[in-house]
Subunit: 266 residues, 3 copies
């Protein structure tokens, strides 16, 4: 991917947008953020992928998301949906369903609460983090796989359910990924960053979107492991961890990936 | 507080929003940012506190602030106001007065210029930092206490005036807090972060909002002291200080707090 | 400059805004971000400079940029334009031309693609980074100087073209600056930060805007060199580099500047 430098169009939230830009640069992509309805078609046309993140959606940007999504569909660009906080408000849940109706997504990535909400139309999202009930469910890897596959069939997209264990699923396949570290949940934006990376990986590997998605998930997990090791070494806390995470992403090479990847096909 | 993980709804500025999210996670809370008028009532309903920060206010978000504030009032949730830059424009000053008219705030936190503006309707705010005249005034702790108490009586909220010395006041009580470090003023967002934390602390201690507010102020000051020590040790500058600040917040325990708290009741 | 603490009004993007605020504090300025049309005239009136950055422009903020720019012109404040991604969409390119028609800019800063677009009305911007063709052109320092001078004559502003080598030009003068490090291109926001700093430097040196601009460019480059040395020492990556960059800016003194500046007048 580092050879192609895929340009990724992000319509995303203002909370974690800087981290998304920097993780894209660190993993070998290039970011552009643009959300005005007058320019999203132009911008998405010069990119290799589109990532739609509803973290701080508003009426103006929802319209831009739909317009950009339709254009990316026309061009055959991978389109990623991060339904941040789906279930937390009628606006969020309704916007997710509207987006899924109007735009064909290649990948939907969320925590288990968000994925359940998208799957069921209900859900029990507590803000933007997985609720305790959902965490319990998630420990049942079999059920999480079923959930991912079910949603994948419904919406025709690869699904990524992140948590203690990460699941990448389409109707026919499922990968269980056991990389990562609990500190990834103590920093704002690691989910958003992963969604942005999935955009870059799919944009650079149009014909192998499932594998590209799984690779992005593994890479984020491994970067989290490396970051935690460095955080511990220097007795840092959560902010140092985020710095080390982006650092690790800019330094990871193929050998590290091969040695550390813990992925299982189900 | 770390046991309850209070969820805090932030309608805040796009400059320091990421720091607010991460400091909330570091201190044991959980953040959600949402500012569209169609969803702020839903979002605030699933939270334990609401923090309104006018740092980059606009016509659209002012309406959302009022709507969210009214809903939080109905639900008995603590509501915090950070009047960033009050006095710097008619829009800011006017919006603060409108908010105070429409919404019942539990805490108002600002620097001495902002607190003076809110108190008097005038003020001499130089941007978002305390002006020299106000700094001089602030060295007169007695006058700063009077100011805080006076505003508290007027608006029926606890007031927090931050600067070289921090004052937490209500009509009957005043705390003078001597924790902190000058580097806290050399980094963007330490005031915003404190306001977010006050939301989390009050949300987790509904019956002891004054003490919760004072505790948040002490904790930020102590984290600043610890962060400066680490910054000096590694010969870092202001950016390293901010990382160490959030790190310290994620690492502070009760023993450190007890040993370092410098609070005096007046 | 550290004696005058110029206050800089930024109408800027939400991607790199926090870095802009912190670099302004680190270099001795003071930031205020405000983009609502109702307050931009008030805000710019209490500032010493205005920086307009179109990185995440929208219809609402374009109007605010024009209004703020006209007011700053009336007051004789330096006005800086950062045409982020000019050429990437009709909205961006059109807005740049509209801004140049309505507002008198003192400095226009961009990468070579952006400067070419502003100069020609066409260009080949690939997102927000310089495209390969443009990088090749840029290695021809003579042509880059011609470009900067040509645009300077057209728009009556100092031009700053940043890349492997930085060019500061007005119709009569050109400086070639060879400070900096390639890592500055691996982090989001170093261009935006430089534009913000140019605002502070010009605001503090109204009568020597060309020299002030060149000084800001040198200082950013030198901070980049110092940051890279520290990044290497601690085996950090791109995120550590950004921290060290802002740290270096907060620590640089006159002796370091004198020893390291590599500027040549053409």
């Amino acid at each position: 991917m580092r050879e192609t430098t895929p340009l990724v169009h992000n319509i995303t939230n203002y909370v974690t947008v800087n981290d998304c830009a920097n993780i894209l640069l660190a993993c070998g992509g290039s970011p552009i953020m643009a959300d005005d309805i007058e320019e999203v078609e132009d911008i998405t046309s010069i990119c290799q992928a589109l990532v739609i993140n509803i973290g701080t959606l508003n009426q103006r940007t929802i319209a831009s998301m739909i317009k950009a999504g339709k254009k990316a569909n026309q061009l055959g660009h991978p389109v990623i949906l991060d339904p941040v906080g789906a279930g937390a408000s009628h606006l969020r849940t309704g916007s997710v369903f509207k987006l899924l109706q109007e735009v064909r997504f290649d990948v939907v990535r969320g925590n288990v609460s968000e994925i359940m909400t998208v799957n069921s139309g209900a859900g029990s999202t507590k803000g933007v983090d997985a609720s305790a009930d959902d965490r319990a469910l998630h420990q049942n890897t079999g059920r999480a796989i079923d959930l991912g596959r079910q949603l994948s069939r419904k919406v025709g997209a690869i699904t990524v359910t992140t948590g203690a264990v990460d699941i990448v699923a389409d109707p026919a396949n499922a990968f269980v990924i056991r990389n990562g570290h609990p500190f990834l949940g103590k920093v704002s934006g690691t989910g958003c960053m992963l969604s942005a990376m999935i955009g870059a990986f799919c944009g650079a590997n149009l014909d192998r979107r499932l594998e590209a998605t799984a690779a992005a998930v593994c890479m984020m997990g491994i970067a989290g492991e490396l970051a935690y090791e460095k955080t511990e070494k220097y007795q840092g806390g959560t902010a140092a961890f985020k710095i080390h995470l982006i650092d690790a992403m800019s330094q990871i090479d193929e050998n590290i990936l091969k040695a550390r990847t813990r992925i299982e096909s189900r």
